[in-house]
């Protein structure tokens, strides 16, 4: 492509129309700086009536915002909280919510739209060139800094007095340890509390629906019941902490259908008590399918076979679901015979 093909206006000029200096192609810089394109005026810059129109538009937007804000306050004061209206296409909605949202939205949007319109039509839109300069310091400054540093190093005598230097390094290296030691106070050590729950020999199983102890005859084959340990009340200050470990689900399977011998031994006439906490990351699992005897975790689809010792048959869980050994007491109520043998819930560092 020869220079003849380039349209005249695209060729570099020595000066742009504002008179600013513009680089010209030479030996070192084969490509010339084309400079800024000529400034074009907006209609508002030329026509005073158009500028007035824009001014009125901006003022109208700001006024709209003011009215919407007043509308917000008025809606808050006048609309009852329980009034429901139908708004297409949202459907039934609380009149107060709708009015507050709309007025607040309009008030904010009108401020933004007004500011954008103001900036685009009325404020100056002339492009301004601000030349960059080199970041590097001048050679004199550099030489002075280096000389100062060398003199300082010589006066401190760090190179010669090695004892001072080494002990200083030691002090600086040890000092952060005090901060690390304080991290211990972030919380008490877990101790063995991850290994124990509220269940212990003789604790009655309490139905979470009725808050009553249960008899074996209450639990039908194919049913699902949730239980908590006797003595734990919902208003206890540590209820959440304790139920998170002790939550129990009770199912009943025909003893012939129980595949695992220990599972059958730990049950009472086919009534099985399993922890409700997934061994993967601790989600509550109770998506029980009574025909397959599988329990599914809704978080990551871990699946456990309750007829076979709570064995993991699918998904990321690493341990079988812990089973609680149960029996009946002298009065005929279901009770725990022991705590869970393994820690419930997700694995942890020292679980082994």
């Amino acid at each position: 492509m020869s220079s003849q093909d380039i349209p005249e206006k695209n060729l570099p000029t020595a000066q742009d129309e504002h008179g600013a200096a513009v680089a010209v192609a030479d030996e070192e810089n084969p490509f010339a700086d084309p400079g800024l394109p000529p400034h074009e005026h907006r209609i508002q810059d030329i026509d005073e009536r158009a500028a007035k129109r824009s001014e009125r538009t901006v003022a109208l937007l700001f006024t709209t915002s003011m009215l919407a804000t007043i509308g917000f306050i008025a809606s808050y004061v006048t609309i009852p909280i329980d009034q429901n209206i139908f708004v297409w296409p949202i459907g039934h909605i609380s009149a107060l919510n709708f009015a507050l949202g709309m007025t607040l939205g309009v008030a904010l949007f009108a401020i933004g739209a007004g500011a954008v319109h103001w900036a685009r039509t009325l404020m100056s839109d002339e492009e301004i060139v601000d030349e960059r300069h080199a970041i590097e310091a001048t050679p004199e400054v550099k030489a002075k800094v280096i000389a100062d540093f060398k003199q300082g190093a010589k006066e401190s005598a760090l190179g010669r007095r090695k004892l001072i230097r080494n002990t200083m390094f030691g002090a600086l290296a040890l000092f952060p340890l005090s901060g690390i030691v304080l991290l211990r106070d972030l919380g008490p050590l877990p101790g063995t509390k991850l290994r124990h729950t509220l269940w212990k020999p003789g604790k009655l199983l309490i139905n979470q629906n009725t808050h009553e102890p249960m008899r074996p005859s209450d639990i039908a084959v194919g049913s699902l019941t949730f239980a908590q340990p006797e003595g734990l009340e919902e208003h206890d200050h540590d209820f959440q902490k304790e139920i998170a470990k002790a939550a129990l689900m009770l199912v009943r399977i025909q003893p012939d259908n129980i595949k695992d011998k220990q599972t059958l031994e730990w049950s009472h006439e086919g009534i099985l008590a399993y922890s409700k906490i997934c061994t993967h990351v601790g989600c509550p699992i109770s998506l029980y399918e009574q025909q397959t005897h599988h329990v599914l975790c809704p978080c990551h689809q871990s699946t456990f076979d309750l007829a076979d010792g709570g064995k993991v048959i699918f998904g990321p869980a690493g341990h079988a679901l812990p089973q609680l050994r149960i029996g009946v007491n002298d009065e005929g109520y279901l009770e725990a015979l022991d705590d869970f043998e393994e820690p419930v819930g997700p694995a942890f560092w020292e679980r082994g």
Binding site: N84, G91, N209, V251, E289, Q290, P298
Partner: protein
């Protein structure tokens, strides 16, 4: 007495005697009638069982066996009770169209009278839960807050916290509870259809079930009040976040592009 005997030849005496005789007959009939009525009821019950057996042989026996004992294609129906029949047939799940992971709800082709006859027949095979009365499952008089608590403890893991349903393993699913007849919800809790566990009265009392139905009526029915509007399927934070990111952010991007794409210059290039 003299007066009465003196009138024994009165022209109306015969009429009076006749009336007395009729009254006596009527009274005697009234004394024996209840026994007859009870007999009639018993016959109508056994008639219903007979009719139900006929319906059963046509619609159900091929999978559940000629006597409801079950085959390799369908479970035994001995002891499932009338409530299970009313649920399965009333929601159109039974008779099943084809084997599969789960039998879906479909159009019910039986009349309520026929369903009652089928239920009577199945109930005669073995004792099981009866069809609940309207008083048990009506949402009136339910403690909705307690119902919500019970629903979240017992049902929400599969059916979602407002009963919108959810997926299970191998193509099985917990169906949505929207617009399900309260009677069918009650029966499902009592009998545990398909893979759903049952929640018998011994572990979830009648009042508990009523509270749950009241809660579902409040959050997932035509009468549900939605103060927030546009519930996006009630599926929780995933749909809400997706909607916010796609449509909320999308609208902001569109406005920004529109503002920048329009030039304010007098000479349009």
């Amino acid at each position: 007495m003299k007066k009465l005997s003196a009138r024994r030849r009165h022209p109306l005496a015969a009429v009076v005697v006749l009336l007395l005789a009729l009254a006596c007959t009527g009274g005697l009939y009234a004394v024996f009638a209840p026994a007859d009525k009870a007999q009639a009821e018993e016959t109508s019950q056994s008639l219903a069982i007979d009719e139900g057996k006929k319906l059963y042989s046509v619609g159900c026996a091929s999978c559940h066996g000629t006597g409801g004992q079950g085959t390799s294609d369908g479970p035994s129906l001995v002891g499932v009770g009338a409530a299970a029949v009313d649920f399965q047939v009333g929601t159109g799940r039974m008779p099943a169209q084809q084997p599969g992971a789960q039998v879906p709800k479909k159009k019910n082709i039986y009349t309520q009278a026929e369903i009652d006859q089928l239920a009577a027949y199945i109930a005669s095979l073995g004792a099981g839960p009866a069809i609940p009365t309207a008083e048990l499952y009506s949402p009136e008089g339910a403690d909705i807050a307690k119902g919500g608590e019970l629903f979240r403890t017992n049902c929400a893991q599969c059916h979602n916290f407002t009963g919108k349903g959810g997926a299970l393993t191998h193509g099985k699913y917990a169906p949505s509870l929207e617009d399900v007849d309260p009677k069918h919800i009650y029966e499902a809790m009592q009998t545990g259809p398909q893979n759903m566990p049952s929640f018998p009265d011994t572990t979830m009392s009648e009042q508990n079930k009523k509270d749950i139905i009241g809660y579902l009526h409040a959050v997932n029915s035509d009468d549900t009040v939605e103060p927030g509007g546009l519930n996006l399927g009630g599926l929780g934070p995933v749909t809400e976040g997706l909607f916010g990111w796609i449509f909320g952010l999308g609208a902001l991007v569109a406005v920004a592009i529109w503002v920048a794409a329009r030039t304010a210059k007098a000479k349009k290039s």
